[in-house]
Symmetry: C2
Amino acid sequence: MSNVDMAEVRAWAREGGEMAKRYFNNVARELKADQSWVTQADVEVEQMLRERITQRYPDHGIMGEEQGVGEIDREYVWSLDPIDGTGAFVSGLPLWCVSIGLMHHGAPYLGVVYLPILDDYYWTDGQGTAYWNETPISVIDTDTIDDNDWLAVSSYAHRIFDISFPGKTRSLSSIAADICYVARGSALGALIAKAKLWDVAAAMAILHAAGGVVHLLSGPRVETDMLLDGRPMEEPCIAAAPGMIKRLTSYVARR
Amino acid sequence: MSNVDMAEVRAWAREGGEMAKRYFNNVARELKADQSWVTQADVEVEQMLRERITQRYPDHGIMGEEQGVGEIDREYVWSLDPIDGTGAFVSGLPLWCVSIGLMHHGAPYLGVVYLPILDDYYWTDGQGTAYWNETPISVIDTDTIDDNDWLAVSSYAHRIFDISFPGKTRSLSSIAADICYVARGSALGALIAKAKLWDVAAAMAILHAAGGVVHLLSGPRVETDMLLDGRPMEEPCIAAAPGMIKRLTSYVARR
């Protein structure tokens, strides 16, 4: 087991959030090659996180959204999204987060997702419990879905899916936040159209510790070791309690 | 013209937001007859706002979400939503707001929408300019819609509409916030499935001052004087720049 100081990782996440907040509502737009928004804040926060990690855990690898994939053949690899939900960030919306995950042999092990505007932490130390701030959390498993239950969806879900979920759908614009709201038992599930490892690494560790799982729409569980090289997931996936996966999948058809 | 002290109205909105924040992430769920969430916070905030208004503007009428419709045959009628986005509030999501609008002869005249978690004000004093905090704002009017443009939609839009908008859709769960993001030029438009006057009164005053309009999907502008008695709008509507209404409407089909 890795001996990671969670208080320190949470402090890094907050430091990143504070750096990003100085740019929030004050950003210039720039287009990345892949058309997602990038901001100076993204770059600066990832650089800071890489320096902290390299100094403290020199044997660990790092892969992140901005600077790409480093040594991923290590036992432990950090997966960083300095600002998950950059589109929300650029639009002046509050749900963006700093996501710091640690993979062990390619599987999500521990992580911190920090939402600076709410000052909310979601985290797990890899010892089997997930927390929202200091409160243990767990996913919802229910037989009855009503009007007030909600599914987190991608902001382009309307173009690629036909969704018959009988409750609400909400598009928050951050995959990591989507999964954390599932882990907390606020959302019933999250429909993730296309993710890379840095979007999900921390949140999946938290979700697993909260009793949840992530499955591809075609059925099998998501294998994260395949994603260490930065490639996108091969197909959309659903995050939820194990008992909810089949039902939620049945509400989603490809257009 | 009514001589309303906007600094005072903004202070009421903040006072309401502070009251509500004490309940945020700490609420018990209750179902109203109409199945929307109600919380003690809603009731307390509206009561406070009614007391402030009645004391300061005794000749004005008031209609609000929690206590319903009072004297609406007055020249000036306040329209209150103490927490617009109660569903978001109950789910621990940040986009809920205190909405205080003033109608003049049945038309939106001035208003304040306050988002406590962001500490953001959207407001107009009825003199022709809309503000986000102290910054004048205006709607977007564009010929080109790309992947990063977004449309605010209802959380049950997936069940009633087929949306072919080529950009993003986001469901923030507050009609007033949706319209304010349009007024600010962040969202291109808002598709509002079903609203009552208290959801839109303040935000429409702000939108109009920002150069925007609200039209029913069938074409005509929304006539708010019909809504003073608390009835819902007869059909869904779209809020946007005048030049965007037709195009945005073309992306929305009823299922």
